[in-house]
């Protein structure tokens, strides 16, 4: 009696598994091929020697004078000079500053959009993503003009500083210019997840909070802000991680001493053509991002628990 039912169940399970594989198989294979494989190649590359004319040295060579096989040399090199730690530290600081600045600027804007009449919201979101319609490099070059010594903007800043008795320094090719560029480029990546989160908040919760004695300040800090934490974490990740690896903006707006990890890595691959060291730097960067993600996830969990 139980046998046909069991057979039916088995058929059902098989059918269900088949569907699942058909749906999730292709993207899985895609990631396996184009994400995991290159990552492994990078890991391997970081343990090899640089080639004589750039690139990688052969793993095996008939000539014993040629460097070959695997080595920890690049890692030893990375830890032997404090300059690399400094660049990492500086990049980390830049990413943190950009993330915080984006958060502070994006939050009021996202809130404004989320609380606007429904018919205006789509237009406002469109305006936020409108810059994506033009080329990223063009937009960054535009900042070169805005921040350049000839611009009205630079003049205005300069005279404002003089009022306070501060001798103006050039804006362009400075860490400040890099920071401005970073914020400008990444702001939409903070606004959009925040808006998506804030737009879902049930307005009756604010009524309830006010009804129970919360003024505008408490309504924000006790209701809106804690409910928006997932949006804050999503936006921060979308800004922090790309900034950490960004090389184009420091290249264009920064001075020679404003090199970040991204520039360093790019330099290894395209400039001095030391692939193993470039791979090592990439891996260190990935490890740092993972550590940061783990830390912020731990922090988020701890935070939401202490508020439980």
């Amino acid at each position: 009696m139980a046998t046909p039912a069991f057979a039916d169940l088995l058929k059902f399970r098989l059918h269900k598994n088949l569907t699942r594989w058909l749906v999730s198989g292709p993207p899985f294979l895609f990631l396996l091929l184009f994400f995991l494989a290159p990552s492994l190649i990078m890991v391997l590359a970081s343990f090899r020697y640089p080639g004589e004319f750039g690139g990688l040295a052969p793993l095996r060579d008939a000539n014993p004078a040629v460097l070959q096989g695997l080595t920890l040399e690049t890692y030893r090199f990375f830890f032997s000079d404090v300059i690399y730690a400094e660049i990492f530290f500086k990049s980390f600081g830049m990413a943190l500053a950009t993330t915080l600045a984006c958060l502070v600027m994006a939050y009021p804007l996202a809130l404004l959009i989320a609380r606007s009449p429904r018919k205006h919201r789509d237009l406002m979101v469109l305006l936020v993503i409108l810059p994506f319609a033009s080329n990223f490099l063009v937009r960054v070059y535009a900042w070169m003009i805005i921040l350049g010594p000839q611009s009205a903007f630079a003049h205005a800043i300069g005279s404002a500083l003089e009022l306070f008795g501060i001798t103006p320094v050039p804006l362009l090719f400075s860490p400040v210019a890099v920071l401005i560029g970073m914020i400008y480029v990444h702001l939409p990546f903070m606004i959009l997840p925040l808006y998506t989160n804030l737009e879902k908040h049930d307005p009756v919760l604010l009524d309830a909070a006010q009804d129970l004695g919360a003024n505008a300040w408490r309504r924000f800090w006790d209701v809106t802000f804690p409910l928006s934490l997932p949006g804050i974490f999503a936006g921060s990740a979308l800004v922090f991680i790309p900034v950490l690896g960004m090389f184009a903006i420091p290249d264009i707006l920064g001075g020679t001493r404003d090199m970040l990890i991204g520039n360093l890595i790019k330099e290894q691959f395209l400039g001095v053509r030391d692939w193993p060291f470039g791979a090592t730097l990439s891996i260190m960067l990935t490890l740092m991002v993972l550590a940061w993600a783990g830390f912020s996830m731990w922090l988020a969990r701890k935070w939401s628990h202490s508020h439980a």
Binding site: D202, V204, L205, D207, A208, A209, Q210, D211, L212, G213, A214, N215, R218, D222, V223, P226, L227, S304, H307, A308
Partner: protein
Amino acid sequence: MALLELRHVTRRFGALEAVHDVSLSVEAGEFFTLLGPSGCGKTTLLRMIAGFDQPDEGQILLDGKDLADTPPEDRPIHTVFQSYALFPHLSVADNVAFPLKMAKRPADEIARRVREALEEVRLADKAQAYPHELSGGQKQRVALARGLVNRPRLLLLDEPLGALDAKLREEMQVELINLQRNVGITFVFVTHAQIEALALSTRIAVMSQGVVEQVDEPDRLYCAPRNRFVADFIGKINLLDGHVIASGSEGMWLEVAGLGKIVMSSVASSTHTSKGTLAIRPEQVRILGVEETTTAENCFQGTVRDLIYHGDVTIYTVLLANGLPFKALKPNSAPGRAKFFEVGDAVRVAWPKEAGIFLDH
């Protein structure tokens, strides 16, 4: 002095008058209900009392003091919203603690009062749970505990039982009454369900299209509705329109077209009335077989059009000679008998002249 007083309150949305010239007073300790069909302005009125909306005309006073310049957060009035509006990121205990924190009470007092409030609604074991882990009835009780915990002068409840299923609803009704008696806080309760209003309230204001039609105790509303709307809205009722043909000390005679004369002892308030309506409840009407005799003054022929069996009683709809459906209730008190008449049976309906009331508007 009344605890809450509304004086000629009017609220307009464009051309629509959602609330029109409403005057009410609610005494301390009352379970006061605003009853009316959906869209009659109950929520609008409640939002003005809570402070989320301002009247276009008129005043709202609490303890004799005009509330016009007091924002919602500063009014000693709390609301239980229909959707409960519990904070999803806070545990049950923190939800209940919210108004106490806003009032900056010391931590040990907050802990004690949250515990007491949760015991009041029998949810002490759910203190650490989150709203999404609770059933509808439990959420409702958290919302009540949160609204009552710092002892407001007034608790407003906007259709709080609307989202519950019938059985739970009945349980919550009993709990609401007990809770209100125990804490002694004045409730202003909003509902469109007349049975709920009758069961819970000390007084009821019946509203229709922004206007308060009658304010009275439940039994007064049921037995002495002031007009057709109230009579029709509260419970089931038969309405017979007619002309007054004679009126004296021993009663009044009403001519109903197509049916005949009706005699009643209730008299019109105005002696000049010529048109009016007899309003009579199904339980005041006897349904008889054609050969049964009756001493009731009013007796009319008809046929059973349909019947609804309720278990304890059956409600028969009888088609009268003038084509009017007329409801009569008969208790199924004889053992083993579910009904006394079938659809299509020729029957008579009868009522004494003391039954029913006369409505002249």
